[in-house]
């Protein structure tokens, strides 16, 4: 081969560094678990208070300009069977046996609201290659920017709750999901589902306050009458109601790294369709693995250097003519 050693060094040093730096800006640290934002806001949903009226669903449709989801051929009004690109929020029903007693696991029933949990460390954000999904630095709401989205749907694969939905029937599709009514938060309002919940099943507030409220409810004595705030955790408007048994668990406090939507219920959460998640978020697991392999691109650079050396040595010293 007609290359001198100097040529080789010039070429390999220049070309190698150039190509490798094109792929290099991975952050250098292994991944710490994400902490809750101090100003983060969220929703506390209490299934024992929910009466299944679906006012939150109607309000969500109206204030997010969503079309009705007609799930049966002759339906004349909105009747979604699950979350979809047309439905950000749904009230589902758990039923067992005779279904007689509300919020009881055996021979009972329970309502359960499903919508975006607004994770502390969202898998969808870690997965999104083009930062179309981001976490609002103040409210912590997980929001979507269609102008960045490439429609790869990795967020759907990543989300442990299957929240992001895709417009399969559109030529120019978008990802659709609850954004904690960020457009309403921006003008000082709060999420429509909480504003229109008549019973105080969904209340809006700072996540720290919501956690305190959830703990208060868990410490209430069953059978006594206690005040439950309506619409907002800091609301003066309260409703007095009979305390019914709770599962002693705040879903979302730690699950999957924690969420800004917290839930209370009388029936175990796995029965209500919420996954049992480890405390480490999958985003953290994935990023730790990636950052270990690509920490400062040191390993790839070293490997590339080694490859240059071997390939160069072997191409110049080969026995073949």
């Amino acid at each position: 081969m007609g290359i001198s050693r100097r040529d080789f060094l010039k070429v390999s040093a220049g070309g190698g560094l150039l190509l490798a730096s094109a792929l290099s800006p991975w952050p250098a640290q292994a991944r710490e678990p994400r902490a809750r934002l101090p100003e983060a806001v969220g929703i506390l949903y209490d299934a024992t208070v929910c009466i299944g009226c679906k006012a939150c669903m109607a309000a969500c449709k109206e204030y997010n300009n969503l079309p009705p989801d007609l799930s049966t051929p002759d339906s004349i009004w909105d009747n979604p069977v699950d979350l979809s690109a047309k439905t950000y929020n749904i009230v589902k029903l758990y039923q067992n046996g005779t279904g007689q007693v509300k919020d009881r696991e055996i021979d009972g029933y329970s309502f359960i609201r499903r919508f975006c949990m607004h994770c502390v460390d969202p898998a969808c954000i870690s997965a999104c290659p083009v930062s179309a999904l981001t976490k609002d630095p103040n409210t912590g709401a997980v929001v979507y920017n269609k102008d960045y989205c490439i429609g790869c749907r990795y967020c759907q694969v990543a989300c442990p709750y299957n929240i992001p939905k895709f417009q399969w029937d559109q030529a120019f599709p978008q990802i659709k999901k609850c954004q904690l009514c960020s457009h309403r938060l921006a003008r000082g309002d709060y999420p429509a589902c909480c504003e229109f919940c008549p019973n105080g099943a969904s209340i809006f507030g700072n996540v720290q306050d919501l956690r305190k409220e959830a703990r208060r409810r868990l410490s209430l004595k069953v059978g006594t009458v206690a005040p439950y705030p309506l619409h907002r955790v800091d609301s003066r408007e309260v409703r007095h109601r009979l305390v019914t048994p709770y599962q002693n668990y705040i879903y979302g406090e730690k699950d999957g790294g924690g969420t800004q939507v917290l839930m209370l219920a009388g029936v175990p959460f796995t029965k209500l369709g919420l996954p049992a998640l480890p405390e480490e978020s999958t985003a953290s697991a994935s990023e730790t693995l990636m950052h270990t392999l690509y920490k400062g691109m040191i390993v790839p650079y070293v490997v590339l250097g080694g490859l240059f050396y071997l390939v160069y040595k072997n191409t110049t010293k080969q026995d073949l003519p």
């Binding site: 094109a22 299957n162 599709p173 693995l289 790839p300 390939v311 003519p321």
Partner: protein, 382 residues
């Protein structure tokens, strides 16, 4: 390079070529339909199964089948086994088409393709995303592969400046080859890392921190298997002598890697205490067993000198390995993936036809190139 390759020659438009062209044409019409009426109109994808065979077959299996060039470059340039160099060109050729068409398949699959350029804007890209690593690496590698193929094309065509360009390219050869080995090492492992974030939705039979390593090892082995497969098929198709001792030697290397892979695979399941899931008698356990039986079959056929040196068994062994790696990828992305009750996925007919169309284009391009350009080693006529 040093030894002589020659074009196979013969007519380009043959009967098989026309059949492939027809499939590609139908697929092309369906692709147009997809761009007008959305992904739901041609696929069975859903919010539960957002990724289907276009990702699993076209991208995952497609690029793994395209690992021939990578696996052979590793052997020849890094481990200095120049006796295998005659197989290099055809291996690079299949890699070029495997990867290029996987790249095209991604643009069929992504919903908002007009924003695709954003993947290449450093200030808007999310470097925490595994998909970014995969996308950038594959895009870079497609370019490297075309550069690696360039000497073949330049040798085949004879414009006045082609020799000069070739010589300049050859000066850069160590750089191109080294980068061409680094990039697939990075993205073939990252393709496995993609599923880490799916967490509990992927069965513990496949969900493990070893996903990147298992994907990498199986991709390299599939690269060798595809080289053996292709050597035998082109010998049969173009009535050329078999390259038996050469490809049997590759079989030995395959056996070592499959052995290491299986030790890691089952060791990992044992350490995580998930071996019990193998015997659950559901679809996932059946597919797991099938997947690993294919690995085992490939291992046994390649380890045994008696089977390895017979073209017939070498061929079966290569196919077993290709099946094993493909099943592993289908299982880790579709069969083992369970988004929750009520979701199901089986590809729609148009979805399958589009994939077949992509395979057809790949085969047509391969046929065209080996007939027109010096890809396959020159046959010594006795």
């Amino acid at each position: 390079m040093s030894e002589i390759s020659e074009p196979v020659g013969g007519r380009i438009i043959t009967k098989p070529f026309l059949v492939l062209a027809e499939i590609a044409l139908v697929a092309g019409i369906l692709v147009i339909y997809r761009y007008f009426f959305g992904l739901g109109a041609v696929t069975n994808l859903s919010d539960g199964y957002p990724w289907g065979i276009w990702i699993t077959y076209d991208v995952l299996v497609g690029t793994a089948l395209g690992c021939g060039g990578y696996a052979m470059a590793l052997l020849v340039y890094v481990f200095n086994r120049w006796e295998y160099h005659p197989l290099m060109r055809s291996a690079v050729l299949t890699s070029v088409f495997g990867y290029t068409l996987a790249g095209i398949a991604i643009f069929l699959d992504i919903g908002r393709y007009w924003n695709g350029y954003r993947l290449f804007l450093p200030w808007s890209v999310n470097f925490n995303s595994v998909l970014v690593e995969v996308a950038l690496c594959i895009a870079a590698y497609v370019m490297v592969l075309w550069i690696e193929l360039a000497p073949t094309v330049l040798e085949g065509s004879a414009p006045p400046r082609s020799k000069e360009i070739r010589q300049r390219l050859e000066r850069w050869l160590p750089v191109i080859v080294a980068v061409g080995i680094l990039l697939p090492t990075m993205h073939q492992s990252s393709l496995g890392t993609l599923m880490i974030i799916a967490g509990h939705k992927l069965s513990p039979l496949w969900q493990t921190g070893l996903l990147p390593l298992l994907f990498l090892l199986s991709a390299i082995t599939m690269g060798y298997a595809v080289t053996i497969f292709e050597s035998i098929v082109s010998s049969l198709a173009f009535k050329r002598p078999f390259e038996t001792p050469l490809i049997a030697g590759i079989g030995v290397i395959m056996a070592w890697i499959i052995g290491a892979y299986l030790v890691l695979r089952f060791g990992d399941l044992a350490v995580r205490g998930q071996l019990g899931l193998i015997f659950q008698d559901n679809l996932q356990s059946v597919m797991f067993i099938l997947e690993n039986l294919c690995f085992l079959a490939a291992l046994l056929l390649m380890v045994n000198p008696a089977t390895r040196t017979q073209i017939r068994w070498l061929f079966v062994g290569a196919i077993a390995m290709l099946l094993a790696g493909s099943l592993y990828r289908f299982n880790a992305f579709l069969i083992g993936y369970n988004p929750g009750p009520g979701w199901r996925y089986f590809p729609a007919l148009p979805e399958i036809i589009i994939t077949l169309g992509i395979v057809s284009v790949e085969l047509m391009a391969y046929l065209y190139f080996v007939k027109k350009y010096p890809v396959l080693p020159k046959v010594e006529h006795s």
